[in-house]
């Protein structure tokens, strides 16, 4: 076992073992989310340790050697993520494999016809398709863009290529365009294959490679390769290239789309956040240059990147997450992840290296039971397309006028035109004052169910979301529950109380063990305040802290010699609101009184 996980093992302390037993008893009587805040927060810590021990599985690196080492590289993040771990330089680098959250034999696709059963298209139509928009009223649309912005930092499976497509038979009354059909079927391309040599112990588990670096390094902005990084840089004072209007340049290979680290599935929401944090980067460069006038372009760029990436991670941890998972225990736990618990005695007793007491940043690096990697299951639980509305109200900050615009017209090659037409400030304000969709059944954006993407056949992204999990051997919903430590359900009604949903699921799936992961996650009844399911949340508890705890730059090297004192202060003293107000001060009134910038702003 240890060899398979490249020698990494989880070591539970005495307190952890004890708490594990205590909470098995407590959870026998009561679910974690119904406990008092502090007890519930500790419960989450217990879940996390169990998951750290049992739910991290290495699949090999899928990459022969890391790029070349040169002295000094350890001081900042390499473009491709190599040498984050100095002992295991390939760990987490771009091109290395996705890991797994479950033992490898559990992660095997169905064989033969069962892979396509029941039809992903039927699920798309009968269970996922949006009939009327269901809004998530506690959030604003920036929250939706934010999470896609973040997933683009963490992973991508690359662009599917033609060949050996899945063929999904269509019902006679299906309105899928005739010219898109092959042999009367809908075609779905397969995920880009991993053609690197397979380790013998992988068994039947398929592997895939992450084209982006796995680290929480803001790679969506900075790119995951030397060449991409060179493309986005201005070459002076460490800055990222922007046009005379202060906005990102156009990608010469994707017209209408901004030139940035990773710009797949581009739309205005991503453009807003990229532009915002590119401005932040460039301001950081100015501030660093003022303090360290001898620093050249490279040093300024790399230090600003470190600081910017950490600030984004902090915003994600203590603002976005409690925003979408509005439970007091989570608010407490996420703050503890970043900066520790607010109790002085507890901090003293637990000691300065304790992550619960003092927060993960600055605590010792630890991979727990496997080398760090994003996982297939992590990708699956972030299939949050229902967050996207089909249309939104675009508001002008100055006149208050609004027009209803379709999302399909603000994405892909239309993105830059749309941004120019409505302006950065108005669009930020509009995103702050519109709701995203609720992450539920029957709320998949319709434009994505018939989506034209350059270089791809017509896509039904809902059907694709279903087939991707199956193709990649991610267990279906019921077994997934079991494997993250929840009870299996016996009936459809146990999953959901959405009216009519259980019957529909029964008609399609026949047996509850066949329910697709995504369908179960979207159907599941949610804990109080939660924006997504408790089942998805289990993967999240594990991986959210892992992104910090495994990363040298958030742990061992989260220190002034690497970040500068100025940098650490900057991260401490800033948040989403200060970033927004620094770059777009006109948003002041809209943000007045806002505690969390991912909650709806004031409509002026």
């Amino acid at each position: 076992m240890s060899r398979r996980n490249d020698g990494f093992e989880f070591h539970a302390g005495l307190l952890q073992r004890l708490l594990d037993i205590v909470y098995r008893v407590i959870n026998f009587f009561e679910r974690w989310d119904r406990l008092p805040t502090l007890l519930a927060a500790v419960n989450l810590g217990v879940f996390r340790d169990r998951l750290r021990a049992h739910n991290l599985h290495h699949t090999g690196y899928g990459i022969g050697t890391s790029s070349d080492w040169s002295a000094g590289r350890e001081r900042w993040r390499s473009p491709d993520g190599s040498f984050n771990s100095l002992d295991h330089p390939r760990m987490g680098m771009a091109g290395s494999r996705f890991g797994r959250n479950f033992p490898l034999p559990e992660c095997v696709p169905d064989s033969g016809d069962e892979l396509l059963d029941p039809s992903p298209r039927e699920i798309s139509q009968k269970l996922l398709a949006r009939r009327t928009f269901i809004p998530a009223t506690k959030l604003n649309l920036l929250a939706a863009a934010w999470i896609q912005f973040e997933t683009h930092n963490w992973f991508s499976h690359g662009l599917p290529e033609p060949g050996n497509e899945f063929k999904i038979p269509l019902q006679p009354d299906d309105d899928w365009p005739e010219r898109q059909r092959v042999d009367g079927c809908m075609q779905i391309r397969r995920t880009l294959a991993d053609t690197t040599p397979r380790e013998t112990w992988l068994g039947a588990t398929p592997t895939f490679r992450n084209t982006n670096s796995h680290w929480w390094d803001a790679g969506q902005i900075y790119g995951s390769s030397h060449s991409r990084q060179a493309d986005i840089r201005s070459g002076t004072d460490g800055k990222i290239a922007v046009g005379p209007d202060g906005m990102l340049l156009e990608d010469p290979t994707h017209l209408g789309v901004d030139l940035t680290g990773f710009n797949d599935n581009w739309w205005v929401g991503l453009s807003l956040l990229h532009n915002l944090f590119v401005r932040e980067h460039n301001v950081l460069c100015d501030a660093l240059k003022e303090r360290y006038p001898a620093w050249h372009d490279e040093e300024l760029f790399q230090r600003a990147r470190l600081i910017n990436a950490a600030l984004i991670a902090k915003i994600h941890t203590i603002e976005w997450t409690p925003g979408i998972l509005g439970h007091p225990a989570l608010d407490f736990a996420m703050h503890a992840n970043w900066s520790g618990v607010p109790y002085r005695v507890m901090r003293a007793v637990l000691g300065k290296d304790n992550e619960a007491a003092h927060g993960i940043p600055g605590s010792p690096t630890d991979q727990h039971s496997a080398p760090y990697a994003m996982t297939e299951e992590f990708t699956s639980v972030y299939r949050l397309h229902p967050l996207l509305p089909d249309e939104m109200n675009v508001r002008r900050l100055d006149t208050g006028k609004q027009v209803c615009c379709e999302l399909v017209n603000m994405q892909g090659k239309s993105t830059r035109r749309f941004m120019e037409e409505h302006g950065f400030t108005n669009l930020l304000y509009s995103f702050g004052t519109n709701h995203p969709g609720a992450i539920r059944l029957h709320n998949f954006p319709n434009f994505l169910r018939r989506f034209e993407k350059v270089g791809q056949p017509l896509l039904d992204v809902a059907a694709i979301d279903i087939i991707r999990d199956r193709e990649r051997g991610v267990p279906r919903y019921n077994r997934f529950r079991e494997l993250v430590g929840k009870r299996r359900v016996e009936t459809f009604d146990e999953i959901t109380s959405i009216p009519g949903a259980a019957d529909k699921m029964r008609a399609i799936y026949k047996h509850v063990d066949r329910v697709d992961l995504l369908v179960g996650l979207l159907a599941e009844d949610l804990p109080e305040g939660f924006g997504f399911s408790d089942t998805a949340f289990r993967i999240f508890i594990l991986m959210a802290t892992r992104r910090l705890k495994s990363d040298r730059f958030f742990t061992d090297d989260y220190r002034p010699e690497i970040y500068t004192d100025f940098g650490l202060d900057w991260i401490n003293n800033n948040n989403m609101k200060s970033v927004l107000l620094r770059h777009v001060p006109q948003l002041g009134p809209a943000l007045e009184g806002a505690k969390n910038c991912f909650a709806p702003w004031n409509v002026l």
């Binding site: 060899r3 398979r4 397979r198 077994r479 079991e482 066949r514």
Partner: protein, 321 residues
């Protein structure tokens, strides 16, 4: 009819015994060879037992690999191809076949039956494979490890015999896991067959009367049971497999209801034994060797076998399928 037992926390088990059900369950998706150990204490202990059949880097022995495992498929095909040219292989192990023939005829041999069989099987892989009492003891230990007696299993592990046996078998197999599987586990089926041949030969003039192919049909034995797990709930015909059930395919009981030598080797299933051609030919040759008059060098006997035994003339694969 399948037999099901569920005691929450202790065991969740389904035993499948009729030929059609065995084949259907074996073929069902969600019925896997790798065991999670979930479902109860017994399920966990069986999973722990099978988990030892790995190389030190975690590579898995072939009969425990999952259906879709690309390496399993490749190795199965490669081994099947390597074992398909039966004649030269049997010529290679003619001395062992002669010894086994002697055993069937006389009930005695210079060394123990198991050692001879192990060496014959090992030489299908490496011409100079040499079995000994020690290596056969290692195989016996691993076979006993798989038997259902917890105390013996405990002692085998505790005393270090388990690891020593695995090491010895792997060493002799030069890292080839199919060879390890064959010389540690599969060989026992051949031992059982040859013991049955001996019993058959003892009575009257059976040896002269019964043709090799008939002798083979009467004595070929399948593994008593092979183990699977149902990951998710599934109905396979009338059999209900609850999620996380340990599934025992009682191949030998099923074979008795379906007297087709191919059945013992799953010859027409995805998991067909790569030795499905050579094993029946080998057994038939052993019978033939037992029939041959005493005397004559192994060389002469070999000529006799390859020229006269029907199974060698008709491709055995065809006969089995």
């Amino acid at each position: 009819m399948a037999f099901t037992i569920t005691i929450p926390g202790i065991i969740r088990l389904v035993v499948v015994r009729t030929p059609d059900e065995v084949l259907a369950v074996n073929d069902a998706s969600m019925v896997e060879r790798s065991l999670s150990g979930r479902g109860g204490l017994v399920n966990r202990s069986v999973a722990a037992k099978l988990a030892v059949f790995r190389t030190p880097d975690g590579d898995i022995w072939p009969a425990f690999r999952d259906r879709l495992d690309p390496l399993r498929v490749a190795h199965q095909a490669a081994l099947e191809a390597a074992l398909s040219d039966v004649r030269p292989l049997l010529r290679r192990i003619a001395p062992e076949i002669a010894e086994l023939g002697g055993y069937v005829r006389d009930g005695a041999a210079d060394r123990s039956l198991g050692v001879i069989v192990q060496q014959a099987v090992g030489r299908l892989f490496f011409a100079n494979y040499t079995a000994s009492e020690k290596s056969y003891y290692a195989a016996r230990t691993l076979q006993t490890w798989l038997s259902p007696w917890p105390l013996r299993a405990f002692w085998i592990r505790r005393s270090g015999a388990l690891q020593a046996s695995l090491d010895r078998i792997m060493d002799l197999s030069r890292g080839d896991m199919a060879c390890a599987h064959a010389t540690a586990l599969a060989m026992d089926n051949i031992v059982r067959s040859i013991k049955l041949m001996r019993r058959l030969a003892r009575h009257g003039d059976n040896l002269a009367k019964i043709e090799p192919l008939d002798a083979l049909a009467q004595t070929l034995r399948a593994p008593t049971r092979v183990v699977r797990e149902a990951r998710d709930e599934r109905h396979v015909g009338p059999v209900r497999l609850r999620a996380r059930s340990l599934v025992l395919l009682a191949v030998e009981s099923a074979r008795r209801q379906r007297p087709d030598p191919g059945f013992a080797l799953f010859a027409s299933a995805w998991n067909r034994c790569p030795a499905h051609g050579v094993v029946p030919a080998l057994l038939a040759d052993v019978w033939q060797a037992a029939r041959a008059d005493t005397g004559g060098s192994p060389e002469q006997r070999r000529d006799l076998q390859t020229d006269q035994i029907p199974v060698s003339k008709n491709p055995p694969t065809a006969a089995i399928r």
